[in-house]
């Protein structure tokens, strides 16, 4: 059928993209319904978020139904399979959690708009998770980033403009690197498809193109030394947007990186080309955790902790083993729950769900709000890699993957980074269990109870995934 029509898209091609389409089209419904709502009623917020969640759940159900069926749509530009589906599901879960946090943040007349922007960004990340040629990667990346440029600026805080401008300029620069790298790769091989890049000879032009492509990726993943923008942007952006960026942007970019590293590089030269990336991952684990030691603002701390956590995930890809890919995905899922759990706790600690939360606000939390402190302790224990959480199990599996792939030095750096991170995370635990005079601590409670759902789900997932580590087994093929 498809041979008779050449590369002309057929119904099945569109079906593969349907979940992303749904996520991208739900905003049209949200914006349309919002036209008929007036004032600043809670209903207006609730309707926008409910529609968005329905759209996301529908997309998630469709993706789950397709697992692990694989199909290469649009002449191989978008490969639907276990890999893209798992990443898409992570994006969907993270987006729903973000929306739960966002109810009550910002002005009511903006909610339909901001919800739409979040969904478009999520659609971009879903595209990236299946993108198997350079054009599709760029398309997904830009769709993801464009929404975020606006979202960063939405808050009325002074730092929001700075955050948005910084993100716009640096992220555009990263896109520029990525695009230039893609152009050079196309020039060197005459093709944009990952599968044909893998069979091309490695010329200097190819190496330069791959290098620039990786610089763009490293910027988006905020690997050291391309991480400087992250803390500032995280600090200025509204809390739900920060939560979204810390998971969805990273998930989408990791999907692209993994597919490129595994499928687009000539197998015999891949380990040499990728070596600098493992060095960057090692540097991220160390620098991210060391810098996090000095932070007193939760968002900045989480920015640096995220830099280190992504370092762990990237390290899992070392040696391009299939096991490493599985455990990277498992750890990413775990990181998604632990990190979003922390963000949900922070959201519950400010009245509007978006105040600046310094570490001092955690003092004595265990005695004022024991459930919140218990959940937070579980998330922090998980991020520090201690049992009984997915942080522990995931880390063991990453260690096993890296050592068996012959990158024992990377496992050693991971151990050192984790040891440093213990101080970062347990500093907060210590503050929560410290006895303080309640009069000296500002105790704000969020008016929006929905983040509690996120806290509960994330805590359950953090624990259960540690006991039953459901690493996806059907994640191949990456290209067809």
């Amino acid at each position: 059928m498809s041979s008779a029509l050449g590369n002309f898209p057929i119904g099945a091609d569109y079906a593969a993209l349907l979940p992303a389409f749904i996520v991208a089209c739900t905003p049209l419904a949200i914006l349309f319904v919002d036209l008929f709502l007036r004032g600043s009623s809670m209903a207006r917020r609730a309707i926008a978020v409910t529609l968005a969640v329905i759209g996301l759940l529908a997309a998630g159900a469709l993706e789950a139904g397709a697992y692990p069926h694989d199909y290469a749509a649009f002449g191989g530009a978008f490969v639907q399979g276990g890999f893209s589906i798992v990443f898409s599901e992570i994006v969907i879960v993270a987006t729903i959690a973000t929306l739960l946090l966002s109810v009550g943040v910002g002005r009511t007349d903006q909610v339909a708009g901001t919800t739409s922007l979040v969904l478009w960004s999520a659609a971009g990340a879903m595209l990236m998770s299946g993108a198997a040629n350079l054009m599709a990667v760029f398309l997904g990346l830009e769709l993801l980033s464009l929404g975020l440029y606006c979202l960063c600026a939405i808050s009325s805080r002074v730092t929001a403009r700075e955050s948005a401008l910084k993100y716009l300029i640096l992220s555009s620069m990263a896109s520029g690197f990525l695009l230039y790298g893609s152009a050079l790769l196309f020039g060197a091989t005459g093709s944009v498809a990952f599968s044909s890049l893998a069979t091309a000879p490695v010329t200097p032009l190819f190496a330069l193109g791959a290098g620039l492509f990786f610089v763009g990726i490293a910027f988006k993943l905020s690997l050291v030394p391309f991480h400087a923008w992250t803390p500032d942007v995280y600090e200025g952006a509204p809390l739900p947007v920060t939560a979204f960026m810390s998971v969805v942007t990273k998930a989408g970019t990791l999907a692209v990186f993994a597919r490129f590293a595994y499928a687009a590089l000539p197998p015999d030269r891949a380990s040499a080309i990728l070596l600098p990336i493992w060095v960057l991952a090692a540097a991220s684990m160390l620098v991210g955790n060391l810098a996090a030691l000095a932070q007193t603002d939760m968002k900045r701390l989480l920015a640096y902790s995220g830099i280190a956590q992504v370092g762990y995930i990237v390290a899992s890809f070392a040696g391009q083993s299939v096991l490493g890919l599985r455990y990277a995905i498992l750890y990413l899922a775990g990181y998604t729950f632990m990190n979003l759990g922390v963000f949900a706790v922070v959201a519950l600690m400010s009245r509007d769900g978006d105040a600046v939360v310094g570490l001092g606000r955690f003092a004595g939390l265990a005695y004022r709000r024991p459930w919140l402190a218990a959940a937070m302790t579980l998330f922090l224990i998980g991020l520090a890699g201690l049992p009984p959480t997915i942080g522990f199990t995931g880390k063991v599996l990453i260690l096993a993957a890296t050592t068996s792939a012959g990158y024992a030095w990377l496992a050693g750096v991971l151990i050192v980074g984790t040891a440093i991170s213990a101080y970062v995370y347990f500093k907060i635990v210590r503050a929560m269990f410290a006895r303080v005079d309640p009069a000296h601590v500002r105790d704000e409670r969020s008016t929006n109870p929905l983040p509690w759902i996120a806290v509960g789900v994330c805590a359950a997932a953090t624990f259960v995934l540690g006991i039953v580590p459901l690493a996806p087994s059907n994640i191949l093929p990456l290209v067809k």
């Binding site: 599985r326 050592t403 068996s404 496992a411 101080y423």
Partner: protein, 487 residues
């Protein structure tokens, strides 16, 4: 079922204690004591409980939630339950509920460490042990230093153990190997030594062995008495248990290669601990440093390759657990009464508090190795074993600190109990019946084991026959020509 309950029961009970109101000191104490007593009775009633196992990981290596009694672990579980029971009875003050809760969580985690038959599960409980102690340390110590020292030291140990476990799992294909001789995979490649180093570092830090002990005196000094009794009596044995039950069967050749180093560390700890205890003014730190000295002796026994010393090691592990718990609980009673642990500020308490003096005396006598008490039984077996195995010089050097033990223990006892009355010390009542009830089973146990260590030596003998300690030295002898021929 029994085994699962031994691990999960205390943890769940501990977490449920948080549902009690904060002021319910008596209820918290009662719950903790009952749970500990049940954990003591369960192994006695059901000594041959079947293993509990459930699959955890299938790839990249198989791992299971596999719990089972071994010859050593059976006794350590009993020891832990007894000491937790005693510790729970001495709980008091406004933090009793939190400490009771964390005490039970710690008991569950440590039961997990001793009962785990899977290396990865062992590592999981090993790391889990950290959390309750850290949570208690941060609430009791005024400044954070001891808590951080404890956490970072032990976490680094836990992480090297984890890395070694992962590497072992990848090489062997499974981590479900503890106490299962048919599944043992002997690592002969260069990896073996790295894996052993990772595991041994964790064990040495946790024990602790000189020079990784610097977290220990501060931690012991800052922890509340019930917690420190459990930590010093049982948690410090986790590393030694690990050497006997895990590395001895799995990595005997590597243990042989490390033998000289470990003897050096053990002897250094023996002497340094004894001298530090002689010079220390803080009574709790005297006992802390004496532990460093005693545990150094057990390390020698474990690495000597002698079956007799191996048997002595188990006897001394249990004996040290009993008398160090008794000492710390008695010192806790002193500190609660007099609000100081400084030997220079204490004195003459025996006249007013005869029961407290008696408890401290018995603990001190057991610690200095008085014949007829359990400490002596362990020491004599270890020293004889060392001597018979040809470690004459080490046995002679080890004798010196064993003698010094009399000096520092009596110095501590005299500093607190004898001498003229110190005028500004507050007058307090003697041990209450509850406190006496807490220390009595410990005293009874080390008297009984001192007179009749037969049950323990029989268990250790079974352990020594399934995994002969001589494998350490023999595997060196076997491997040496192989190394030469491969060149």
């Amino acid at each position: 079922m029994t085994l699962t309950a031994l691990v999960l029961g205390p943890i769940v009970a501990g977490l449920l204690l948080y549902a009690l109101p904060r002021s319910a000191t008596n209820a918290a104490r009662a719950v903790a004591a009952i749970v500990a007593a049940l954990a003591f009775i369960a192994p006695l009633v059901d000594p041959s409980a079947p293993d509990a196992a459930a699959r955890w990981l299938s790839r990249p290596f198989t791992a299971s939630f596999h719990l089972g009694f071994g010859p050593l672990s059976y006794w350590l579980v009993l020891l832990l339950a007894l000491i937790t029971f005693s510790a729970a009875l001495t709980l008091k003050g406004d933090r009793a509920r939190e400490i009771a809760a964390q005490l039970l969580v710690l008991q569950g985690a440590m039961n997990g460490v001793f009962l785990a038959k899977d290396l990865l599960l062992f590592a999981l409980f090993w790391d889990l042990m950290l959390i309750p102690v850290f949570l208690v340390l941060i609430t009791t110590s005024a400044h954070g230093r001891p808590a951080w020292k404890y956490l970072i030291y032990n976490l680094v140990g836990g992480l090297t153990l984890l890395l070694a476990t992962a590497a072992y799992g990848v090489l062997a294909g499974t981590t479900d190997v503890i106490g299962n001789p048919t599944a043992h995979f002997s690592v002969v490649s260069a990896w073996g030594l790295w894996i052993f180093a990772g595991i041994a570092f964790a064990f040495l830090v946790k024990t602790p062995v000189f020079p990784f002990h610097t977290w220990m005196p501060e931690t012991y000094a800052e922890l509340p008495p019930p917690m420190v009794a459990v930590v010093s009596a049982v948690q410090s044995k986790a590393g030694l248990y690990g050497f006997m039950a895990i590395t001895l069967p799995l990595l005997p050749a590597q243990m042989g290669q490390a033998q000289t180093l470990m003897f050096a560390l053990g002897l250094a700890g023996l002497i340094y601990g004894a001298l530090a205890a002689l010079g220390e003014r803080d009574a709790k730190k005297v006992v802390a440093y004496s532990s460093l000295s005693h545990l150094g002796l057990i390390l020698l026994a474990v690495f000597s390759g002698s079956s007799l010393a191996y048997i002595g090691a188990l006897v001394y592990i249990v004996a040290h657990g009993l008398f160090s718990a008794a000492l710390f609980l008695a010192l806790g009673a002193v500190e609660q009464r007099e609000e100081t642990r400084d030997l220079a500020r204490l004195g003459g308490l025996a006249a007013r508090n005869p029961r407290l003096a008696g408890a401290l005396m018995l603990g001190a006598l057991a610690a200095l190795g008085l014949p007829g008490l359990a400490g002596f039984a362990g020491e004599i077996l270890i020293l004889t074993g060392l001597f018979k195995a040809g470690w004459t010089l080490a046995a002679v050097i080890a004798l010196v600190p064993v003698v010094l033990a009399s000096a520092y223990m009596l110095r501590m006892f005299q500093g607190i109990m004898n001498g003229p009355d110190v005028p500004d010390l507050p007058e307090r009542r003697d041990l209450t019946w509850l406190e006496s009830l807490a220390i009595a089973p410990l005293v009874a146990a080390f008297v009984w084991l001192g007179v009749n260590p037969g049950a323990l030596t029989a268990a250790a003998d079974r352990g020594a026959r399934t995994t002969p300690p001589a494998a350490i030295t023999s595997s060196v002898a076997v491997e040496a020509p192989r190394v030469v021929s491969s060149r």
